[in-house]
């Protein structure tokens, strides 16, 4: 999020293309910097906030005088910020016998302010709730006596929610929850308060402004309506195609708890009307299986409106999802653990929201909580029905494939590949990949570390490992090929497996170029390949065919003499 200084620079930007909203800001502490932050943050939300700010501590003076500047400004929104510090000041000045009546007294006054505003203006009222101050006069006993400040403050926050339920144009902006997220020491800075009468730290201003803008823009109808989920390592731990249905981490297995809790969150979103879609690079039937059969899955097929699991690129799939749902990209949130996919989607789908999920899945939820992605201004029974309606719609539409120019995108990735034979440093990783690769694995020969050591020393075998790096980072060792010398000048591809993370990146072409060049230079005439079908490797059924190999009985052959290099954007390191 931008800093306050950066938001101030926004004030010099051109707001002319944006919708103008007249906002009145009234507070009982200094609000000048908050006003700057609000206008500056408006630029980020593509809103031109025309702000009128009441003089310091003039809330009631402005509201109860029909001829006041507030009413001649005639705002669309009124932001009211009555602080906990002033509340505490009032409490301090009361006789102690009256302390138990503070919340009720304030609540009456707030309701008076609201009804006066709504009688006179056609405006929405945004009221900041009270951030907690514990004056520690009663200790823990504050929770057991109406005479404590903390009791009154919490009662006031609670009663405010009840009032807001009844008053259609009253919206609570929950800065108390914001303070809970960042901690009071970050929310409030004593020296700033003492010197300026401002109860917000400079650091928190952008977050308070964003929280307010979330509400304002939701009131303009700008809402997130759909969350699109990746599957592997996003909603469950592990890779379903490789690890298998029974080994994905959800429920009690491994760090499954993190994923279960994440799924409960998505389920709650769905129940409150957010459409849930799936966009995953997987074989459709494999990807659906956990939703249907896994005992620990929280999300089920009936929770998903559109299910897109295939090997096409995600930008195309998301366009397809949008066509089915008929909603704007700016109302979509895409959650994926893979930085490559996130960037691919971000660069190809303008407006879509793609949070930078933290690396540790245990952090997903806490991070997502802070983003306040799913602001809304209403909740009804129809919201609960939405998923079913869209499911019907999705069944009508079949997925038609439209290809983005992926080539252009791949060019921008600056991919480079490190090719090495087996050595003592990469043997553990090779063994691991060999045991785990199920989908992109032509013959599914499993090697132990001992086998691998044998192969690397063998004179009849040639070994290759490929490590791929791009501008977003290092993908590590992702592909392994073992060639075996045969009589008659042929090289047999004993093993070729690859991690599915790097599909559609031109890696197959680069790998073939590498081994073809090697074979040619070493005096071999042909490359021979074989596909042995298993329950999981259907995706490479046509692997050799699509690489230009010709069929010869039950194997595939490629003539090295006339080999032409396959097109790709990977350079060798």
């Amino acid at each position: 999020m931008k800093t306050f200084t950066e938001l101030k620079k926004n004030l010099k930007q051109d707001f002319s293309g944006f919708k103008t909203i007249k906002v009145a800001v009234l507070g009982d502490t200094s609000t000048q910097l908050l006003v700057q932050a609000l206008r500056g943050m408006g630029y980020e939300y593509k809103l031109n906030l025309e702000i009128w700010e009441a003089d310091f501590n003039q809330v009631e003076l402005q509201v109860f005088d029909p001829g006041s500047a507030l009413y001649s400004f005639d705002p669309h929104m009124v932001v009211l910020f009555q602080s906990s510090h002033r509340l505490l000041e009032k409490f301090n000045k009361m006789s102690s016998a009256d302390h138990s009546g503070l919340a009720e007294h304030e609540l009456n006054s707030i309701q008076n302010i609201y009804s006066t505003l709504s009688d006179t203006l056609n405006a929405k009222v945004i009221y900041y709730n009270y951030t907690e101050i514990d004056d520690s006069v009663f200790g823990n006993f504050a929770n057991k006596t109406e005479f404590s400040f903390l009791f009154q403050l919490r009662k006031l926050n609670y009663e405010l929610m009840l009032v807001a339920m009844k008053c259609t144009d009253l919206y609570i902006c929950d800065i108390s929850s914001l303070q809970n997220q960042v901690g009071k020491a970050n929310f409030f800075q004593t020296s700033v308060y003492i010197n300026t009468e401002m109860v917000l730290s400079i650091e928190i201003l952008p977050k308070v402004a964003a929280r307010t803008l979330d509400l304002i823009s939701a009131l303009q109808g700008q809402l997130k309506k759909c969350v699109i989920l990746d599957l592997d390592n996003t909603i469950w731990g592990g890779i379903i195609g490789d690890d298998g249905f029974e080994n994905i981490q959800v429920g009690t297995l491994g760090i499954g708890k993190a994923f279960s809790e994440f799924q409960y969150w998505v389920k709650k979103l769905k129940e409150r009307g957010i459409i849930v879609a799936v966009c995953s690079k997987n074989t459709d039937s494999v990807a659906r299986e956990p939703f249907k059969k896994h005992p620990d899955m929280v999300l089920r097929m009936e929770d998903i409106s559109v299910f897109a699991a295939n090997w096409e690129n995600k930008a195309d799939n998301i366009r397809e999802i949008r066509d089915i749902l008929n909603i704007g990209f700016d109302s979509m949130v895409f959650l994926d653990d893979n930085p490559f996919e996130r960037n691919m989607v971000r660069e190809n789908i303008p407006g879509i929201h793609v949070p930078e999920l933290p690396e540790d899945p245990a952090d997903y939820l806490e991070y997502l909580y802070t983003l306040n992605l799913f602001e809304t201004t209403a909740f009804s029974n129809e919201d609960k029905e939405r998923t079913r309606l869209y499911q019907v719609e999705a069944q009508r539409n079949t997925f038609q494939k439209k290809f983005t120019n992926e080539d252009d995108f791949l060019k921008t990735l600056n991919m480079s590949c490190l090719v090495q034979p087996f050595n003592k440093f990469n043997i553990p990783r090779i063994a691991q990949l060999s045991q785990r690769s199920n989908q992109f694995n032509l013959r599914t020969v499993r090697y132990t570390e001992g086998d691998i050591e044998f192969l690397s020393a063998s004179e009849n075998h040639f070994t290759f490992t490929f490590g791929l790096e791009d501008k977003f980072g290092d993908n590590g060792l992702i592909c392994v090929i073992v060639l075996q010398k045969e009589d008659g000048g042929a090289l047999f591809i004993d093993t070729w497996f690859m991690s599915c993370r790097v599909l559609k990146r031109g890696m197959e072409h680069f790998a073939l170029n590498t081994i073809a060049e090697f074979g040619k230079n070493a005096g071999f005439k042909t490359l021979k390949g074989e596909y042995i079908p298993t329950a999981k490797n259907e995706m490479v059924k046509n692997h050799y065919q699509s690489l230009g190999f010709g069929q010869n009985e039950n194997h595939w052959e490629l003539d090295l003499g006339g080999y032409k290099k396959k097109h790709n954007h990977i350079t060798r390191k």
């Binding site: 200084t5 010099k12 700033v192 010197n195 300026t196």
Partner: protein, 75 residues
């Protein structure tokens, strides 16, 4: 150090032309008012990883005194 503080001033007040000396006071810089003063203070705190007391913030007559206060905190 004066250079670093100058950088904080130009950045926070969004005016590249500001040149400060130890003798500079708030009245010498157009954008430097009571409101931006606290932003400068917080930016300086963040930059040098220090905290000023509320009294210190009110006490400086010019940039030089602020500088002295920063140095007094072991920077």
């Amino acid at each position: 150090m004066l250079k670093q503080i100058n950088r904080i001033f130009t950045d926070t007040l969004d005016n590249e032309d500001i040149v400060i000396t130890e003798a500079t006071t708030a009245s010498d810089v157009e954008e430097w008012d009571s409101l931006t003063h606290i932003q400068l203070v917080v930016a300086v705190e963040k930059h040098f990883k220090i905290r000023f007391t509320s009294r210190e913030i009110q006490s400086w007559a010019n940039v030089g005194e602020m500088l002295g206060c920063i140095q007094g905190k072991g920077v």
